[in-house]
């Protein structure tokens, strides 16, 4: 890792750059890594380069009750000010990390492919748009993305989309509590299967196997869980320049091209990075925000916004869950990821019910150490309480698709500014009836399984208690029609010939699968398109 003083000196723009990537998360990291070496690549990242040596301390913040989730990765303050004007509050700063690695620093690391029907929701399910690409177009990139991230999985999902080769690593074996769920599911004729993890089940790509810290979400101290620092460091090894703490303020442009990215540095200066190709890879909120901040006489409603759709169709996945207690030990909270899921009901989706998946948790109930730190007792009394509270919990989760709605959007809040005086993002979010109905349906199945196990169901996260899964999608949607989307099938903006978007913001629909593998696959495909263009 380069010392700070070197990085300070290196904050000047790179001359004659071929590609400028804005954002050092998984999408930006993969594009940069793919194009580095053959091209001069510069990456501009708003947040810092975190020191890997600090990860145990960040883990301590994750465990100790004094710290909120955003504190773990220093999110918050004027830099990250935001608004939430919608019917449903959106807790944006719990949902992102700014820095080299982006939000993969705090993600759980679950990586599924979207199902074939997800690419054709309008045709197959009668709601939402079709993507301009099919599963077949993305299939080879999915396989490549699994190798790039390092995915542990098994081809045992009878409901998954077709795949042509094994996962790079064997799946994590089922947990003890999975075996308890399995008995009930067998009785109910519900199929369980393994779940792909972007987490090393054996040493892979120079990173160790998982050592079981149990705090995957929000920090992995061993780096067994993939994060995008891997691709950024690889890109740097090939000659890419990465400038951290360099938030891009706006994209300067003429009618057809982005001419430079104007970025600020900690010394208060502004710089202009010119490049032949520009890739906006800032996630589903900051990507549309940057385009909107780059308004001009050519683009009075925001850059690349001839369609008027920049920021529109913001989507997230909804959580559906239920949990309770058994009269036997369940061995929870040894690891921070789950090992079994169920896609059996996913493709029953239609206009009335959304696709959804079910997850069998390995971390139900309280973590003893977190409980110890927040109780009002100690000594024998505390130990007694911990023994009483820990040990027999079970829980299930699930994700539900949210349809794209034009009235869910990311806009600029002109009444509030960030640390550079720019209007902050306003996430205007609400949830429609189809998703709420589907949450109830997922809850029914979850409750059925738990009751079959003999569990006393203690909580249900239904329509009234659901929340976002922190997957920001849809705000620069992909469409073959320039009037119906912001980017084309190659993720290039319809308006500007040298500007691409690498992000879940291009998803026309969201499916109900965690988005990062699809982000990675699209990033690889986008890099190929840029390579061809260059």
């Amino acid at each position: 890792m380069r010392p700070t003083e070197t990085r300070e000196a290196a904050r000047a723009p790179v001359e004659d750059a071929d590609v400028c990537v804005i954002g050092a998360g998984p999408a930006g990291g993969i594009v940069a890594d793919r194009l580095a070496g053959a091209h001069d690549v510069v990456v501009l990242e708003a947040g810092p380069r975190f020191d890997f040596a600090d990860r145990l301390e960040r883990q301590e913040r994750a465990i100790r009750p004094a710290y909120d989730r955003p504190d773990v990765w220093d999110v918050g303050g004027d830099r990250d000010a935001h608004s939430a004007s919608g019917e449903w509050f959106y807790p944006l700063n719990h949902a992102r990390v700014k820095g080299i690695g982006g939000s993969t620093l705090h993600w759980q690391g679950m990586v599924m492919r979207l199902h074939e029907g997800d690419f054709n929701s309008g045709s197959v399910r009668g709601v939402g748009p079709d993507w301009p690409i099919d599963y077949a177009d993305l299939r080879p990139y999915y396989a490549e993305a699994e190798r790039e991230l390092g995915v542990a999985g098994a081809d045992d999902n009878p409901y998954g989309p077709p795949r042509e080769e094994p996962y790079p690593m064997p799946a994590f074996p089922p947990s003890y509590s999975d075996s308890l769920f399995a008995e009930a599911c067998e009785e109910l004729e519900i199929d369980m299967h393994s779940v792909p993890n972007a987490r090393n089940s054996e040493p892979y790509d120079g990173r160790s196997e998982c050592v079981g810290y149990g705090t995957c979400l929000p920090v992995c101290p061993s780096k067994a869980k993939y994060d995008a620092t891997t691709h950024i460091e690889s890109a740097e090894g090939k000659g890419a320049t990465v400038i951290d703490r360099a938030p891009v303020q706006r994209l300067e442009h003429d009618a057809d091209r982005v001419t430079s990215a104007v970025y600020a540095t900690p010394d208060g200066e502004e710089h202009r990075q010119e490049a032949d190709a520009v890739v906006v890879a800032c996630g589903g909120v900051e990507t549309p925000r940057l385009l909107l901040l780059s308004e001009s006489t050519d683009y009075p409603d925001g850059l690349a916004n001839s369609s008027g759709l920049v920021g529109r169709f913001f989507m997230d996945h909804l959580f559906a869950g239920a949990g309770g207690v058994l009269e036997e030990p369940t061995r929870q909270n040894h690891v921070g990821f789950y090992t079994s899921s169920c896609d059996q009901f996913y493709d029953d989706a239609d206009a009335d019910f959304a696709p959804f998946k079910l997850e069998f948790f390995n971390y139900a109930g309280p973590s003893p150490v977190e409980m110890a730190l927040s109780g009002d007792e100690w000594g024998d009394d505390l130990l007694g309480s911990l023994r009483e509270s820990y040990g027999n919990h079970v829980a299930m989760g699930g994700l539900v698709e949210q349809l794209p709605r034009e009235d869910n959007y990311v806009a600029l809040d002109h009444d509030r500014t960030d640390d550079h005086g720019n209007p902050v993002p306003d996430v205007h979010w609400t949830v429609g009836d189809r998703a709420l109905r589907t949450i109830e349906r997922a809850n029914e199945i979850q409750r059925e399984i738990l009751e079959e196990m003999g569990a006393d169901v203690e909580w249900v996260a239904g329509p009234d208690a659901t929340g976002p899964a922190y997957h920001h999608m849809g705000t620069t949607r992909m469409s073959a029609d320039p009037e119906s989307g912001v980017v084309d099938a190659d993720c290039r903006t319809h308006d500007l010939e040298n500007c691409w978007v690498a992000s879940s913001s291009v998803f026309p629909t969201s499916g109900a699968m965690n988005p990062t593998l699809t982000i990675a696959a699209l990033a690889l495909r986008t890099a190929d398109a840029i390579e061809t263009w260059l």
């Binding site: 009750p65 004094a66 050592v211 079981g212 036997e328 150490v369 110890a372």
Partner: protein
């Protein structure tokens, strides 16, 4: 259940020695002028250790032994020149000051019941931990929870509750598959 220096090493491996992070968020930025002791008023590290061991004997359950060795080993990794270590020294000194003021003796010389009562009178039982908060909140953070964190992120502390690979400890990927023993 006997704790050893080796268990302390396991706890340190879990949560680490502190001090590396440049504290970045507003809530973590501490103004030493307000709450901290002057350097000359701080207990020396030997007294810090003695005091924390005395507190450990109260906040740890009776069925663990070897507390002195365990806490000594843990503090070897935590009492460094970091901001966090400074917080430990401050809060421990403050607690000891209260003991001398209210009981005419340092914490280490109080009976177990008196130590328990002192902690409650300071308010550390009902306070939420906060490294920049009131005396009660800082004693909770740097003294009581520092010790509880050490115990319950160690495999032996986890075993007390039935989880030999507690959150924060790198106990591998076998235990989650094992049924109850």
């Amino acid at each position: 259940m006997e704790l050893t220096r080796r268990d302390a090493a396991a706890a340190l491996a879990a949560i680490g020695a502190t001090g590396g992070i440049v504290l970045g968020t507003r809530r973590l930025q501490r103004d030493h002028d307000d709450a901290s002791q002057t350097e000359s008023n701080l207990l020396d590290d030997e007294r810090i250790r003695t005091t924390l061991i005395a507190v450990g004997e109260v906040v740890y359950p009776d069925e663990v032994s070897g507390i002195e060795e365990f806490i000594e080993g843990f503090l070897d990794g935590r009492l460094n020149d970091s901001e966090h270590a400074r917080g430990i020294r401050d809060a421990t000194t403050e607690l000891d000051d209260r003991a001398r003021s209210w009981y005419d003796d340092p914490v280490a010389d109080l009976s177990s019941d008196e130590r328990d009562r002192l902690l409650r009178e300071v308010g550390a039982d009902s306070a939420d931990e906060d490294p920049t908060g009131t005396t009660a909140e800082r004693v909770r953070y740097y003294v009581v929870n520092e010790l509880l964190l050490a115990l319950y992120t160690s495999p032996k502390g986890g075993e007390l509750v039935g989880n030999e690979n507690p959150q924060g400890y790198a106990g591998g990927t076998d235990s989650y598959r094992r049924g109850p023993q």
